[in-house]
């Protein structure tokens, strides 16, 4: 009986359990949901509310058009702003007097430098900065027309312990009648603060002056107002500057070491946190992170257990060798946020890995740094190795080339750093005639793109591929005429006919550069394209042939001397070649430069050589933008030289274009006869047969190279011929058969 009861009970229990299980499931669920709902821990995406369609709008349509009322007039508000937003809250709107820059329209950006006093000590670096400004096209010696003022007092080093420190700056600038609480002033600084805290304090009140400072902290940086500049050494070249170290894109792009650092370890004080930790990622194989304790006078006082070992390891590697052979270079903060190694690794094409929290990167306004550096986080040092390991080969290739592009465009010389600073400020002042980010971040860099010419990308020769467009289908012939028209058989007549017959020619412009007035319209031969004659006002201005005439409506310009001899098919062929190389000069007669080790100077040759670096602009295609650059980018001094000697304008143009592109010009096929031979009865001497003329050109090459700070010309070893040029095939098949007739 006992057992039976037991079984009955058991069976009942089981049944109950079963029933509960099946019927209670729903209850259980409901219970569960109730619980979770109360706890608010529903693990699921944001629900689709049943009544979502009935939810109210976040704002009524009328509310979006809030009436500002009549209370405050915008003018009053702007005035009130300048009273409130001063000093550390300065912005261009409140701390900059735009009216000073408007006095001469677009040309209104002028920079004045205070004269330095006799007993002033000016450091090497600051002297270079001042020289750059004084030689720039923005310099003015008249403070009345200045838009921006630069101090003559050296403010680069504001570390009181430094020998370069200039005392009493405050008192002195207060004495300047133009100081005006720093409005429209630009102050350069590389080092601020001192041991142990290295604050951002300059030791004097900058008021409303714009600060161009290295190692700027994002917290103190006044966005859209200050300019962050890179830290550069006193040996940084004035102009030109070394090219980047990348000469080839090796595949695979990894170098011997993945990541390297070699530098000081601060045992105490600011910046020591980061530097003290760097040894953790050293593995002695592909990651080399070396620190030394040896710096300052009393390092041994703070010496720790690692120091001796680290110092030994430190000596085993050479910094230069590591720079050359590492894919990535650590750029940690030092005492200050920026360090020399930033520019060093940029130049060395060693992709910088930044460990400097809060550093406002140089020219951050305009440069897209994430495409050239790896921005690390000091807090995540130990993640850095895996981060850089995960960077793919393609990205390494892109980052590395980008370092070179930025180095050469903005950092390789003091000139470039200073000019970039000025251009950034100028872009802010004339914001609707300024460069966009694309112009700043693609080749050839913002300094060579003048927004006054155009703000439209397709108007420049550099962006066709990036925009997916191709250069225009037509060209404008610009003929430089110097001799009066006396007969209908003059070479210019023939030239006009030949050029106008080209189907790509849209207009012809004659620059009449002769004492005699240009002939009347009917004297010119009839032509299928419009002809315009411009009389040059200032005679014998050789540079006038490169003036950016508004009449030139096409992108391509065919520059011609009046005595050039060409065939229509030669013109057509060269134009088609130009359309493949719109950023270069495409011309016919080549010349070359060479280094003369005996004279220790550059030489120039017009002999037939196996390579060339110049094509004469007596007959050449190029983009019309180069006219603008020639007239506005190059300094007056070089143009004056050209005008004075009536020579070298073509060499200067070649210098300019090669400096922009880093590439040689393109020579195309041509019959051997280029200029009309001097007729025996001709009285006029031909200038290019004159030895004096030749010596001048030699000098020009050296003068130009001096201004550019390096030799921009590049040699090329090929010329471009039509595909079937002189091939053994029927001439009937050849499109450019005329070229083969001698």
């Amino acid at each position: 009986m006992q057992a039976r009861k037991k079984y009955v009970l058991l069976g009942l229990c089981a049944c109950c359990w079963l029933v509960l299980f099946y019927w209670g499931g729903a209850v259980q669920l409901r219970l569960l949901r109730l619980l979770t709902r109360q706890r608010g821990e529903v693990v699921r995406p944001w629900p689709n509310w049943t009544d979502r369609a009935f939810l109210p709008r976040y704002a009524h349509l009328d509310e979006l058009q809030t009436d500002p009322g009549t209370a405050e007039s915008p003018r009053q508000r702007r005035q009130a702003w300048s009273a409130i937003y001063k000093d550390s809250r300065c912005r261009m709107e409140t701390c900059f007097d735009f009216s000073r820059c408007r006095r001469r329209g677009r040309e209104g950006f002028r920079v004045y430098i205070y004269p330095s006093e006799k007993n002033d000590h000016v450091s090497e670096s600051y002297r270079k900065i001042l020289t750059s400004i004084a030689e720039s096209r923005y310099y003015t010696s008249d403070p009345r027309e200045a838009c921006l003022f630069v101090l003559g007092i050296d403010t680069l080093d504001r570390d009181q312990l430094s020998g370069q420190f200039v005392p009493n700056v405050d008192e002195r600038i207060r004495g300047y009648p133009l100081w005006n609480d720093g409005r429209n002033h630009l102050i350069f600084n590389l080092y601020s603060g001192t041991w142990p805290n290295y604050t951002e304090d300059l030791g004097f009140n900058i008021g409303q002056a714009i600060l161009a400072k290295a190692s700027l902290n994002t917290e103190h940086f006044r966005p859209g107002f200050d300019v962050s500049i890179p830290l550069f050494s006193k040996d940084h070249p004035q102009k030109g500057g070394e090219r980047g170290w990348l000469v080839r894109n090796t595949i695979p792009p990894r170098r011997k070491y993945l990541l390297m650092f070699k530098g000081k370890r601060y045992l105490t004080g600011i910046g020591s946190d980061t530097r003290n930790a760097l040894h953790h990622i050293h593995n002695g194989k592909d990651i080399v992170s070396l620190t030394t304790c040896r710096h300052g006078k009393d390092w041994e006082k703070h010496k720790d257990a690692r120091c001796d070992h680290d110092n030994l390891e430190y000596e085993r590697f050479d910094y230069q060798e590591l720079l050359h052979n590492s894919t990535f270079c650590l750029v940690p903060r030092g005492r200050r946020l920026g360090s020399f190694r930033f520019l060093e690794s940029l130049q060395a094409a060693c992709i910088p890995v930044l460990l400097s929290n809060g550093w406002e990167l140089p020219f951050s306004d305009v440069i897209q740094w994430n495409q050239a550096v790896i921005e690390g986080d000091e807090r995540l040092l130990l993640q850095v190795p895996s981060t850089v390991r995960a960077v793919g080969n393609e990205r390494v290739l892109a980052l590395r080339q980008r370092t070179q592009m930025l180095w050469e465009a903005y950092f390789s010389s003091v000139d470039k750093i200073v000019l970039t600073t000025l251009e950034i400020i100028k872009d802010r002042v004339f914001s609707h005639i300024s460069r966009n980010k694309y112009m700043w971040n693609s080749l050839p860099g913002g300094l060579l793109v003048l927004p006054e010419y155009s703000t439209h990308l397709a108007h420049f020769p550099f962006y066709y591929l990036g925009l997916g467009v191709s250069p225009g289908q037509e060209f404008t012939a610009v003929i430089h005429a110097v001799s009066p028209l006396v007969s209908q058989s003059q070479p210019i007549m023939k030239l006009l006919q030949v050029v106008s017959k080209s189907k790509y020619c849209s207009q012809i412009i004659i620059l009449w550069n002769s004492e005699k007035p240009p002939p009347i319209r009917s004297k010119w031969p009839p032509m299928p394209v419009p002809l315009t004659v411009f009389t040059i006002v200032f005679l014998s201005q050789t540079t006038s042939r490169f003036l950016p005439h508004v009449a030139i409506e096409t992108e391509a310009v065919l520059s011609l001397d009046e005595d050039t001899v060409l065939l229509t098919s030669e013109v057509n062929f060269a134009f088609l070649v130009w359309r493949s190389f719109p950023e270069r000069i495409v011309g016919y007669p080549p010349r070359s430069h060479f280094w003369d080790p005996l004279k220790r100077a550059w030489g120039y040759t017009s002999k037939w050589t196996n390579d060339y670096s110049i094509v004469l602009t007596g007959a050449a295609f190029y983009h019309r933008y180069y006219h603008y650059l020639f007239s506005h980018y190059l300094p007056q001094s070089l143009r004056t030289l050209v005008d004075r000697t009536s020579n070298c304008e073509d060499i200067l143009m070649n210098f300019l274009v090669s400096a922009v592109t880093h590439l040689p010009p393109v020579k195309v096929a041509q019959r051997k006869q280029y200029k009309e031979l001097p007729s025996p009865q001709g009285t006029k001497s031909v200038p290019w047969a004159n030895p004096e003329h030749f010596n001048q050109r030699q000098e020009c090459v050296n003068t130009f190279a001096n201004w550019f700070g390096y030799m921009p010309l590049v040699h090329s070893q090929f010329r471009l011929d039509p595909v079937l040029f002189k091939d053994q095939v029927s001439v009937l098949r050849k499109k450019y058969k005329d070229l083969e007739r001698a």
């Binding site: 009328d62 000469v247 080839r248 986080d377 080749l443 591929l465």
Partner: protein, 716 residues
Amino acid sequence: MYASGKYSSRGPALIPRMKTKHRIYYITLFSVVLLGLIATGMFQFWPHSIESAADWTLDKRSVHDAPLVRLPVSSPIPERGDLSCRMHTCFDVYRCGYNPKNRIKVYIYPLQKFVDELGVPISSTGLSREYNDLLSAISDSNFYTDDVTRACLFIPSIDVLNQNSLRIRETAQALTMLPRWDKGMNHLLFNMLPGGPPDYNTALDVPRDRALLAGGGFSTWTYRQGYDVSIPVYSPLSADVELPERQPRHYFILSSQTAIHREYRAELERLKEENGEALLLLDKCSNLSQGVASARKRCYKGQVYDYPQILQESSFCVVLRGARLGQAALSDVLQAGCVPVILADSYILPFSEVLDWKRASVVIPEEKLSEMYTILKSIPHRQVEEMQRQARWFWEAYFSSMKAIGLTTLQIINDRIYPYAARTYEQWNNPPLAVKIVNSPLFLPLIPPRAPGFTAVVLTYDRVESLFRVITEISKVPSLAKLLVVWNNQNKSPPEESLWPKIGVPLKVVRTKENKLSNRFFPYDEIETEAVLAIDDDIIMLTSDELQFGYEVWREFPDRLVGYPGRLHLWDHEMGKWKYESEWTNEVSMVLTGAAFYHKYFNYLYTYKMPGDIKNWVDAHMNCEDIAMNFLVANITGKAPIKVTPRKKFKCPECTAIDGLSLDQTHMVERSECINKFASVFGTMPLKVVEHRADPVLYKDDFPEKLKSFPNIGSL
């Protein structure tokens, strides 16, 4: 039951019977347990049923079901936002961690309804439709995580889009009630209408500790650069109105805002007087009949215009600041493809961290309103068209919906946390156009030094004799650094080492596993130079001068194919497709890789990045690998190949027509097929046609041959 009891009392003899009787119980018990187990198992392995059931019920949830949370009066208030906050000071990166996808994880708090002690809600509207859309979009995106412990960014479900509807103090208290608030660390708030009368702050007034703010209408003084995100003010019209592209645009400048300060309106009137019909100056309609949505109409001198459709009729549209800096009108203007002329001093434009507004808008200082006409007139016409396209694209990609706004914001924050994986300028700013935009991987203009020369890669099958002649010829080229023979014959071993020609540079033989054409383009580790000369084992007629010259030309064009025999593609109008041409033509669009220099990088691209099935297709058909290479290079660089030196007979005289593959007629038909096939895979015809070839500077010039660098060019 009874029986069993009786039997049980009978003693041992009956035990088996009794056992059977008991068995029933045992069986019942057992089956019950078994059934229970099965049921439990079904429960275990059928999670969807529960979840879907739950979902089903949850989907039935109404916003009003949100649990109520009562805020004590004394609950803490967060500090006002700290203006010095930056990612490295106020943001906890450790929460985001290192992850291979480089994507942040975002958690959304469940909806709660906050009320004060008297039961009055903290917001007059509660959850708005827009904020709900935003949160739904985020929860559907791959940023979303439901695991609060793994989240890197937290988004409260408290709707603060419009400050007007908020009770500031109570909203702030509600924020601190969030379980993971922790001084606002890693919290993100979305706000579009900040401030309130009379002075309209440019950032949300709700105290919010260290929380990030995605705000519409920041001024340069409230925006924490690199921390906050400037977002657009969403225009509810976006969802209601479609504005398909329309031309032409009759007006030059249009002002359509109704709330413009009277001083500015006066100034605009003056501009209109000066420039007449080019300007259209609209205002509110005063005498609209009842029932017409006033927000959708604008008037000028009694004439009624439809808004926002009227925006499409102007080239430029004025967006003036109102009481607030951010204007919903900006969104309407962009949608209409009208170029916004923004007059709002100190305004931080939406998403300005990544968008290049100079390409889509004109920003003019308020002071210069009177010069607006002159400034706009100075912009080239082509640029205006470009800006209109760009404006429209900005709207489509970043303004058009709350989803677009929300995900763009998260992407910007994501880019800050994983800067090395950030989207590029081009990705943010270039519209996906029909035209081909080229981003060459070898974009830097470099002319690599002559040393260390090039590596010749000879593909061979079994023509040993011809191969040896090729090797001997190539070895005479001064810049040859290494010779690599790719032995593509698996059935035969390469000749013994002693039989190979003795040459002055290293010679390596690579044996392949399969006879595939793509073996020629494999990026072998043995290739240590960046320049590669691909050459067939029967190209014996190229002179040393020609090869050296080819290398010199390649140095000037390291991003192109530089080769000897040129080919052309033509459009066959009759057939309506592409045709391959190997005759004597005046044009070139391809060079054969039977003899061509190129950068080793293209080997990587060919092997690993060839689009579609082209690589396998080529291997299967044993043809067209050179055409594929030409397509690949032209597509990525946008440039034509360079043909060097004059044409010559290319096949060796002794090779018969059967032997030389390219002579076969069917072979030529197949090559035309290849071009059509590849063009369809690439989706475009990337090949570029040119009419030039490269020759030495003094080629065929009347000049002593021995003074020429490359005298032996073009000999047959």
